[in-house]
Each structure stands twice: as structure tokens, then as C-alpha cells.
């Protein structure tokens, strides 16, 4: 990176460190922090959508739909998520390929499971065998997002389901009295009003989601944990210009600080959002705000 980095052995400590921390591998490490933030940014809305539809189907008056929604919530929450993560990614991948195989290669006669191999026709491969590495990485990332969203969607569904029931009945009855159809009541009254009840649960969920991101490591994504382990390990002089001992403790300390900062920061932001949403609501928080303003 810097011009003086050509001979690291001859440098004093500070300069050595500045060179060491700017090697190509370290940029991959820094990039992995962005990956974590990226997966959070993508997963949160997708999980919220899953949660919303999960809650809607759990509320449905059609029995099978309601069972489906409730079953989804119950099963995902009863099992350690790490088991889901290890299981879902392979299952999803093979599931998608199987579907595409059925659609794209109807004439294929070979069995899909040949011994240990899972073989679909080349056109059905995801991503296509011809795709560049970037596409493969994006696909792996996408699978991780869907897996995360499925798991967290179940928790979000539970929160939203509870929040929808917490909206005061009188508000819905008033809407009916004004002649709104059930659909209008749902979209114009229930949905806007439920957020204030859902937010405490959802913000808790967001904190948990942040803390779940190190598990990306188990999904084969080269995330912060992967690089901390790789970079922190002892390095001998034969294979690197920057040999060092076992530094894994310090790398993981950096990760701890990163996560503490993330959770601390989002707590601040979420509590502001809560104050905003509480405005004018028929809750103790809203009442306190009203009194505060009056006084």
C-alpha cells in the first residue's frame, strides 16, 4: 500500500503495522464487515415481509391457511436456528435446482441422485456452470439471505401477529361504523396502528439479527469470523512478508467491539423511532408525551 512497504522486516513497529494492516488480505477482511452490514440491510426488509405474510396467514379465517401460518411460526421457533442454517442452505439449493430441472429439462432420463451426487441437467444448475465467480458468490449470499429471512420471518410473524391483536378493538369498530369494508379496515386502520405495538418486539428482533450474523460463517460465506481466524493464526516467514504469532485473540476483540458498536448504535436509533411512533397513540407512552407537551 505505502511506498515504504517493500521491505517490511526493516521497518519500525508502527510503520510495520501500517503496512500489515493494509495488505490485500486485510482489505478482504474489511470488506467482510461491509458484507455483514449488507446482509443486515437486505435481510431485515425481507424478513419483515415474511413476517407480515406469516402473520396475515396466521390470522386468516380460512383454516388451512391459518394452520400454515401458525405451523411456520411454531416449527421455526422450536428448533435451534443454527440447525436450520446448516440444513436450509443445502436444502434450498437442491430444491431450486430440482424445480428448474423439472421445468427446463423434461426429457432428462438420468436419475437426479446418482449415488452421492446430486445431478441436474446443466441448464438447471444454479448458478450456471459457466457463470463467473462473482455470480456464484452472489448466489451464496442470496441463499444466506433467504435462510436468515425464513428464520427471522417466523419471529417477526409472531411479533406482528401479537401487535395486530393489541390494536384496540374500538378503533376497528369505529372504522366499521364509518362503513369501511374489512379490507379497508385492515389496510387503513389495523396496519398503520399496529406498528407502535410491534416496534418493541421488532427492535429486539433486530438486535438478535445483528448478533446472529457471525453464523454466516457456518453458511460458507467468507465473513468476519472466517477472516479473523485466517488472519489471526500464526504466520511463518516462508509464506508471508508479515510473520507473526497467534493473534486471534486481538482479531476477535476487534469483532466484539464492532458488534458492541452496532448494537449500541441501533439501540439509540430505535429508541428515537419509538418516540416518533408513540406520538398521539392511545398508550401510556403516548399519554406521557401529550402531558409533557402540554406542560
Amino acid at each position: 500500500m505505502f511506498s515504504y512497504c517493500t521491505d517490511p522486516d526493516a521497518l519500525d513497529r508502527l510503520r510495520w503495522l501500517s503496512c500489515y494492516l493494509t495488505t490485500g488480505v486485510h482489505f478482504s477482511f474489511y470488506l467482510s464487515f461491509l458484507k455483514v452490514i449488507g446482509i443486515l440491510a437486505v435481510t431485515a426488509p425481507v424478513a419483515l415481509a415474511f413476517g407480515f405474510f406469516g402473520a396475515m396467514s396466521a390470522r386468516s379465517s380460512i383454516a388451512p391457511v391459518s394452520w400454515l401460518g401458525k405451523g411456520y411460526i411454531a416449527v421455526v421457533r422450536g428448533v435451534p436456528d443454527i440447525a436450520f442454517f446448516l440444513f436450509f442452505v443445502i436444502a434450498l439449493d437442491q430444491g431450486f435446482e430440482w424445480l428448474r430441472h423439472q421445468a427446463l429439462c423434461p426429457d432428462w432420463t438420468d436419475p437426479i441422485r446418482q449415488g452421492n451426487d446430486f445431478l441436474v441437467c446443466p441448464q438447471a444448475k444454479l448458478p450456471l456452470g459457466t457463470a463467473p465467480q462473482a455470480v456464484h458468490q452472489t448466489y451464496a449470499f442470496g441463499l444466506a439471505v433467504v435462510t436468515f429471512a425464513l428464520v427471522f420471518g417466523a419471529f417477526a410473524a409472531n411479533v406482528i401477529f401479537g401487535a395486530m391483536r393489541a390494536v384496540p378493538k374500538a378503533q376497528l369498530e369505529t372504522a366499521e361504523a364509518y362503513g369501511m369494508s374489512p379490507r379497508q379496515t385492515f389496510w387503513r386502520i389495523l396496519v398503520p396502528q399496529m406498528w407502535v405495538y410491534a416496534l418493541p418486539g421488532l427492535s429486539n428482533l433486530w438486535q438478535v439479527l445483528i448478533k446472529a450474523t457471525p453464523l454466516l460463517f457456518l453458511l460458507g460465506i467468507e465473513d468476519v469470523v472466517y477472516w479473523a481466524r485466517e488472519l489471526g493464526g500464526t504466520k511463518t516467514a516462508r509464506f508471508t512478508a508479515y510473520p507473526h504469532g497467534d493473534w486471534r485473540m486481538w482479531y476477535f476483540l476487534a469483532l466484539l467491539v464492532f458488534y458492541l458498536f452496532m448494537t449500541w448504535g441501533s439501540e439509540k436509533i430505535l429508541s428515537r423511532l419509538m418516540t416518533r411512533l408513540t406520538r398521539g397513540q392511545a398508550t401510556t407512552g403516548g399519554e406521557a408525551q401529550r402531558r409533557g407537551a402540554a406542560a
Partner: protein, 243 residues
């Protein structure tokens, strides 16, 4: 720069023409944590004996290749489910693995596995011995009378000896040699060398016979003209076994 680009494109085009089964880009899976076989260099790229060998094999087989990293734990499952097409990760050819995947002929002769401890007196026979999970070395220790302690990466097995977690580490002698050399006496070879496995080969899916033949032919040609030996000496030193 331009000429390199052009030649890559040319190779890519011949490869596409040559391959009807969708392998226009052959994805090479490796661990990236097993120097000198494979490791990540300071620039963040896959480097090492297998990188250099693999690139040369691809040129000879007229294939476009691309390197992919994968954890050792799941390196075979991911090959089988077609996330990449080959494994070059210092993987010894064993019957157990051969049942699940196919191997080319060996590109690294059958070698010894060795014990390394913190001192000459370390108890490798009945003490605590570290090995990487799901390796032939781990299998060997599990069958003996020593206490096996498993780690996910080779690096951690050696770290376990350094910090007293284990009495000895059992791994490929060629992986351990540079570490012992660089340790300045902290690590020493102990006990006898144990020949394990049938050499190191490239792993492929059992259904991928065409690709296997191509790489087999390329390895044969490198063995014949001596370039493989040159590479072996370059990465493993003069004393290493050759063809």
C-alpha cells in the same frame, strides 16, 4: 497486459468449443489454509504448490480455471453438489473418500505423516494428539491409543501444541516441516513417520469422467517432462519425494 488478456480469451474459446458438458469454466475448490500446498497470500489470493500446479494443468488441458475457497469440513459435500468441479487441497487418496468421489492419479507421491511436539519427550503414543477434523490423520489417531483432539483448521492443530493444549500434532510431514524450521526449536519432530494414504490427488465428481481424463492426461505429461518435479522441489525443498 493485453496479450495476456487475449490469450486467456483464446483459451476460454477453445475450452468452450472443446467442452460440450457445460464446463466452460472449471471451478477449482481448495481450502487456502494448508501451506505450502495452498494458502492465502498477502494480496488475498490463493497461492502455493497446488495453485501453480493447477494453473499449469488447466493450460495443458486447455481449460479456463477459477479458484474457489471452501472450508475443509464441507469440501467434499460441496463438490458433490456441484458448487465447484475439482478439489485440490492436499487431499490424500483414500478408499473411504474414493467411494464418494473420484481421484485423478496422484500429483504428490505417497508421503509420511509425522508427529510434532514441543519437546523430544512429548508423549505421542498415549498422550493428547491434535489433528484436523475429517483427515486421514484424525482417523489414524482415533484408532490408536492416544487421545484425539480435533480442530477445524490445520493451523489450529499446531497452535494447540504451541500453547500446551495437546502433547503432539499429527499431520503431513510436508506441512509440518516449514513450521518446525521456523519455530526456532519450539517445535520438534518426534516419533516415527507413518505412511498414510495413497498420495495426494485431485478430487472430482464420480460422474465427471471426461474432466478426470483430461486432468489425468495433463498430470501424466507433467510427470513425463519433469515439470512436476521442478514444482515439487520449488515448494517442498530438495529433500522431498519426486517422480
Amino acid at each position: 497486459m493485453k496479450s495476456i488478456l487475449l490469450s486467456t480469451v483464446a483459451v476460454a474459446m477453445t475450452a468452450t468449443l472443446a467442452l460440450a458438458d457445460g464446463h466452460s469454466v472449471v471451478r477449482m475448490g481448495t481450502e487456502g489454509a494448508y501451506p505450502p500446498y495452498n494458502f492465502i497470500n498477502d494480496a488475498g489470493d490463493v497461492d502455493g504448490f497446488e495453485r501453480e500446479l493447477g494453473d499449469e494443468l488447466c493450460v495443458r488441458a486447455e481449460l479456463t480455471c477459477e479458484w474457489v475457497k471452501n472450508d475443509w469440513d464441507s469440501i467434499i459435500p460441496n463438490l458433490v453438489s456441484s458448487n465447484y468441479d475439482t478439489i485440490m487441497a492436499g487431499m490424500s487418496i483414500t478408499d473411504e473418500r474414493d467411494e464418494v468421489i473420484d481421484f485423478t492419479q496422484d500429483y504428490f507421491p505417497p508421503t509420511a505423516s509425522a508427529y510434532v511436539g514441543a519437546s523430544d519427550g512429548a508423549d505421542w503414543e498415549n498422550g493428547v494428539v491434535a489433528a484436523q477434523t475429517a483427515t486421514i490423520q484424525a482417523g489414524h489417531i482415533a484408532e490408536g491409543s492416544a487421545t484425539l483432539v480435533e480442530f477445524a483448521t490445520p493451523e489450529e492443530t499446531v497452535a494447540a501444541v504451541r500453547n500446551g493444549e495437546a502433547d503432539a500434532v499429527f499431520a503431513d510431514a510436508d506441512y509440518l516441516a516449514p513450521l518446525v524450521e521456523a519455530s526456532g526449536g519450539d517445535l520438534v519432530f518426534i516419533g516415527p513417520d507413518v505412511p498414510l494414504g495413497g498420495g495426494v490427488g485431485m478430487g472430482l465428481r464420480e460422474s465427471d469422467t471426461e474432466l478426470k481424463e483430461k486432468f489425468d492426461a495433463a498430470i501424466t505429461s507433467m510427470k513425463e517432462d519433469g515439470t512436476l518435479n521442478t514444482l515439487l522441489v520449488k515448494w517442498f525443498g530438495e529433500g522431498t519425494a519426486q517422480y
